[in-house]
C-alpha cells in the first residue's frame, strides 16, 4: 500500500466517523422528540385542559391547575425579568460602552447564564420562602426571572451594539438628549433582535424545573394566588413521572408534549425572526 493510499484510507475512516456522529445526534433528536410526540398525543385530551387533578389513583382528571400556574409563573417572571434585562443591557451598550465595568458585568452575566438553576432555587428559598414561612408563587417567578435577566441583558447588549454608531450621531446632531436617542432611535433599530432575545429567554425558563421545586412547590388544587404554593407543569411532570400510577405517567407525557412543542415553536420562531431580519 502506498503512502497516498494510506492517507486516503485514514481520511475516509475519520470522515465516516464524523458523519456517523452527526447522524447519531440527529438520531437522539428524532428518538426523544418522536417518543414525546407518540406518547404525548396518545394521552392528550380535552379534559386535560379543563379539569383539575383527580385524587391519586383515580382515573381521569386533568392538569388545568398546572397549565394555569405555569402560565402565571412564566408571565410574572417575564414581567420582572425583561425590563431589568433590557435596561441593564442598555447601560452596558450605551452609557458604559467601552468602560471596564461594562466588560466585567457582561462576563459575569455570561457566567450567570450557566450557573446551576437549582442553586438559584436554594437562594430564593432562603430569601423569599423561609421568611414568609411557606412556599409561594412569587418565589418561583423571581427564581425564573434571575435566570432570565442575564440572558436578556446579554442579547440586548449585543443587539444594541449592532446598531451603527453614526445613527446615534445623526440624532445627537439634531440636539436630542441621549435618553431620547436610545428610546426613539436605538431601540427601534434593535427591536427585532431584542424581541428575539426575550422569546428565547422565555423558552429557556418555561422548561425550568429545578428552581421551582422548593419555591413555588406544587399545589394539587386550582389556584391563582401567587402568595401560596402554585402548581407548574414541570414540577407536575417530575412528581407524576416518579409516581406509581399509570394514569399519572400518561398525563406526565401529555404535559411533556405540550411544553416541548411550546418551547420548540418559540425557539424556531426566534430563529426565523433572526434569519428574516439579519440577512
Amino acid at each position: 500500500m502506498t503512502a497516498v493510499q494510506k492517507r486516503k484510507i485514514e481520511g475516509t475512516i475519520a470522515l465516516t466517523f464524523s458523519t456517523l456522529a452527526a447522524f447519531m445526534g440527529l438520531f437522539w433528536l428524532v428518538f426523544i422528540l418522536g417518543d414525546v410526540i407518540v406518547h404525548g398525543i396518545k394521552a392528550l385530551n380535552l379534559s386535560l385542559f379543563i379539569h383539575d387533578p383527580a385524587p391519586p389513583g383515580v382515573e381521569g382528571g386533568g392538569l388545568r391547575n398546572a397549565f394555569v400556574g405555569q402560565l402565571l409563573i412564566t408571565i410574572c417572571a417575564t414581567l420582572i425579568g425583561v425590563p431589568i434585562g433590557v435596561l441593564g443591557g442598555t447601560f452596558l451598550a450605551e452609557y458604559a460602552r467601552g468602560k471596564k465595568i461594562a466588560r466585567i458585568i457582561s462576563i459575569l452575566a455570561d457566567i450567570m447564564v450557566s450557573v446551576p438553576s437549582i442553586v438559584i432555587g436554594t437562594f430564593i428559598y432562603a430569601v423569599l420562602v423561609l421568611p414568609l414561612g411557606h412556599f409561594n408563587g412569587w418565589a418561583g417567578s423571581v427564581a425564573l426571572s434571575i435566570i432570565m435577566i442575564p440572558v436578556v441583558l446579554r442579547t440586548t447588549e449585543d443587539m444594541l451594539s449592532l446598531v451603527p454608531w453614526t445613527l446615534r450621531e445623526a440624532a445627537f446632531a439634531l440636539g436630542a438628549p441621549y435618553y431620547k436617542v436610545i428610546t426613539q432611535v436605538v431601540y427601534r433599530g434593535a427591536a427585532t433582535g431584542i424581541l428575539t432575545g426575550i422569546l428565547l429567554s422565555i423558552a429557556r425558563v418555561a422548561g425550568e424545573t429545578a428552581p421551582l421545586l422548593f419555591t413555588s412547590f406544587n399545589n394539587s388544587f386550582f389556584s391563582l394566588n401567587m402568595n401560596q404554593p402554585i402548581s407548574s407543569l414541570t414540577v407536575t411532570i417530575f412528581q407524576y413521572a416518579m409516581g406509581p400510577y399509570d394514569s399519572w405517567h400518561e398525563q406526565a407525557w401529555a404535559a411533556a408534549f405540550v411544553i416541548t412543542i411550546f418551547i420548540l415553536i418559540i425557539t424556531i420562531l426566534g430563529r426565523l425572526i433572526i434569519r428574516w431580519r439579519y440577512r
Partner: protein, 314 residues
C-alpha cells in the same frame, strides 16, 4: 466611543441611573447568592468544618451527621463519563457540519442540533426514565457485563444487577444533553478558520481529513477547549436530566451499575423535606459547594473563550 455631554439633561441622568441599577443586579445576585448560601450554611460549617465536610462519606439525617463526598463523587463521575461520551460525538458533528456536509444539509442539521439544545432537561430526564432506562437494563448493561466479565479490573465497573437506574444511564442522558452545546461552540470555532489557510493546505495536496486534523483543529483548539469546559460547567449543575435515573444513594461505588447521588439530585430530592436545622444547613452547604465548583469552571471556560475571541479578531 462613549460621549460626554457638557450639560447633562436631568431626565438623561435619571435614565442612566436606572439602567446602571438594572445592570448591577447581576453583580448583586452573585454576591447575594454567595452571602446567603454562606450564612444559611453557617450552622453546618461550624459543626463539620470545611475539610471534614468535603471528605466525609456520611450522609445520615437521623444521626444528623453529614458529609459531601458521596455527592461530589457522584457529580464528578457522571460529569466525567458524560463528557467522555459527548466530546468525540460533538466534535464529529462539528466536523461534519462545517466540512463534510453538502450545503443543503448544513442548515437543517445545524437547526436540529440547536433544537436538541432547546428541549428542557426535564424532558430528557423523563425520557430517560421511561424509555432509555428499560433499554439500558435489558440490552446494553447485560451486554456490557457479558463482554467485560472475563477482564479483571474492568469487570468491577459493571458489577451488580443491571437495573437501569444507575450512574451509567444518568451519564448517557447527560451526554445526550450536552452534545448540542459542545457541538455548536466547536462548530462556531471551526468556522472561524480562514478559508485561505485551509486552501493553502489543500493546494499542497492535503486530504480533507488532514486539513481538519492539522489545520482546523490546531487553529480552533482554544475555542473548542472553552466549549468543552463550558459543557463541563453545565453538566456539573444539571439536575432534572439525572434526577430521574440516578436513584438517590449516598454511597461511593465502583460499579457503574449502582445508584448514586449528585449534589443536584440530593438537593432536588431532600431540600423540601429537610426537617431539622442541621439537615437544611448541610443542604445549603452542598449548594454552596456546587455553586463554587461550577462558578470556577464557568469562569475558566469564559477565560478560554475570550482568549480565543481575541486571537481570532487579530
Amino acid at each position: 466611543m462613549a460621549i460626554t455631554l457638557k450639560r447633562k439633561n436631568p431626565v438623561d441622568l435619571v435614565f442612566s441611573f436606572i439602567t446602571a441599577l438594572a445592570s448591577v443586579t447581576v453583580i448583586i445576585f452573585i454576591i447575594g447568592i454567595i452571602y446567603v448560601l454562606i450564612s444559611e450554611s453557617s450552622l453546618a460549617i461550624e459543626k463539620f468544618g470545611i475539610v471534614k465536610f468535603l471528605s466525609s462519606t456520611e450522609w445520615n439525617p437521623v444521626k444528623e451527621d453529614f458529609g459531601a463526598l458521596t455527592n461530589i463523587y457522584g457529580t464528578v463521575l457522571t460529569t466525567f463519563l458524560s463528557l467522555l461520551f459527548a466530546i468525540p460525538v460533538a466534535i464529529g458533528i462539528a466536523i461534519f457540519v462545517t466540512e463534510i456536509a453538502p450545503n443543503f444539509l448544513k442548515g437543517p442539521i445545524g437547526v436540529a442540533i440547536e433544537l436538541l439544545a432547546a428541549i428542557p432537561s426535564i424532558i430528557y430526564g423523563m425520557w430517560g426514565l421511561f424509555t432509555l432506562s428499560p433499554i439500558m437494563s435489558s440490552y446494553v448493561e447485560p451486554f456490557l457485563k457479558k463482554i467485560t466479565s472475563g477482564i479483571p479490573l474492568v469487570n468491577i465497573l459493571f458489577q451488580g444487577m443491571p437495573m437501569g437506574i444507575d450512574i451509567l444511564t444518568a451519564s448517557v442522558i447527560l451526554s445526550i444533553m450536552i452534545i448540542p452545546f459542545t457541538a455548536s461552540i466547536a462548530r462556531d470555532s471551526f468556522n472561524l478558520t480562514p478559508d485561505v489557510v485551509k486552501e493553502s493546505a489543500y493546494s499542497v495536496g492535503a486530504t480533507q481529513w488532514e486539513v481538519v486534523k492539522n489545520v482546523i483543529l490546531p487553529y480552533s483548539k482554544l475555542g473548542v477547549f472553552g466549549g468543552v469546559v463550558l459543557s463541563l460547567g453545565r453538566a456539573l449543575g444539571e439536575t432534572m436530566a439525572v434526577a430521574f435515573v440516578l436513584g438517590n444513594n449516598h454511597r461511593i461505588t465502583m460499579s457503574l451499575l449502582d445508584a448514586a447521588a449528585t449534589i443536584t439530585v440530593t438537593l432536588a430530592n431532600e431540600f423540601a423535606e429537610a426537617d431539622n436545622d442541621v439537615y437544611l444547613s448541610s443542604l445549603f452547604y452542598l449548594a454552596l459547594v456546587l455553586f463554587v465548583m461550577s462558578f470556577i469552571t464557568l469562569a475558566i471556560a469564559k477565560f478560554f473563550l475570550l482568549k480565543a475571541e481575541r486571537k481570532y479578531s487579530r
